[in-house]
Symmetry: C2
């Protein structure tokens, strides 16, 4: 073996074959890579991915219960607790009891939260461009449409 036998040389390269056969595995591995990139980006920004999503939703649709946030953002209730805790501690959101139903909170974004959100939002396009640079614009559109069908089956008709 005089070849410069590096770990992932080429020659073996079993993974591409697997990814072609197992769409589920390819999807999970790609997602893991993207998720890591997103988390790293978020850490650099100082605002977790979940916190960012919550702030954005609060900004767009107004005060929400944690329940609603959980369901619409597909984040587990028990995880949402921690996210709201941190947002509140940072002063980006407030938990006010809903007077109509005191079981639930009305989570509300603050001015500080809006400012922080604007900051974080500004860096998203570059992040997406960087993460999906391997794809053409057309392919990104295809991917978006396909994922939408996977996520909301039956919405298209």
């Amino acid at each position: 073996m005089a070849t410069t036998t590096r770990t992932t040389d080429r020659g073996a390269a079993y993974f591409p074959q697997l990814a072609a056969e197992r769409l589920d595995i390819a999807l999970c591995r790609a997602s893991a890579a993207v998720s890591r990139a997103a988390e790293a980006h978020a850490a650099g920004e100082g605002l977790g991915v979940g916190q960012h999503l919550v702030l954005q939703m609060l900004d767009v649709v107004g005060p929400c219960s944690q329940q609603t946030l959980s369901e619409e953002l597909r984040i587990d209730r028990s995880v949402m607790v921690g996210i709201c805790d941190e947002l509140e501690r940072a002063g980006h959101a407030r938990r006010e009891r809903n007077p109509r139903d005191r079981r639930s909170y009305a989570v509300t974004i603050t001015d500080s939260g809006r400012a922080r959100l604007a900051e974080a939002q500004a860096s998203i396009p570059a992040f997406l461009e960087d993460t999906f640079q391997a794809l053409t614009l057309d392919e990104r559109g295809q991917l978006s449409a396909i994922l939408a069908k996977l996520l909301h089956p039956g919405v298209d008709r």
Copy 2:
């Protein structure tokens, strides 16, 4: 609101909008759903996803070190330890020391492992069909190609 205000009624439905804007989030959420389905399917088959992948790779490319398995299957080394432990305990694989390099094992599939693999393989097409039934064959091809580009950037030229 006399409407039967179910939790995810429609009307709010913020998630689709988010998924359209944030390709990364859409990818992660879809992957989580698929991953859960795969894990559930594997549990029903009695052979974990990781174990299945390892058996398949051993069958296709022959005995491998855990390191090679880890790299090619994109499974962390420390996770691979447990997978090989279970395969060995079930008699589906053996760990033999590589006499040329006693740091590494040569993990080898057994006849029992080959039989188990054949069984598990048989159920995969139906699982994939079920999981991706929301997509046309054409879309599945597009998705596969797009994921390949995301996973192996720069291979296409």
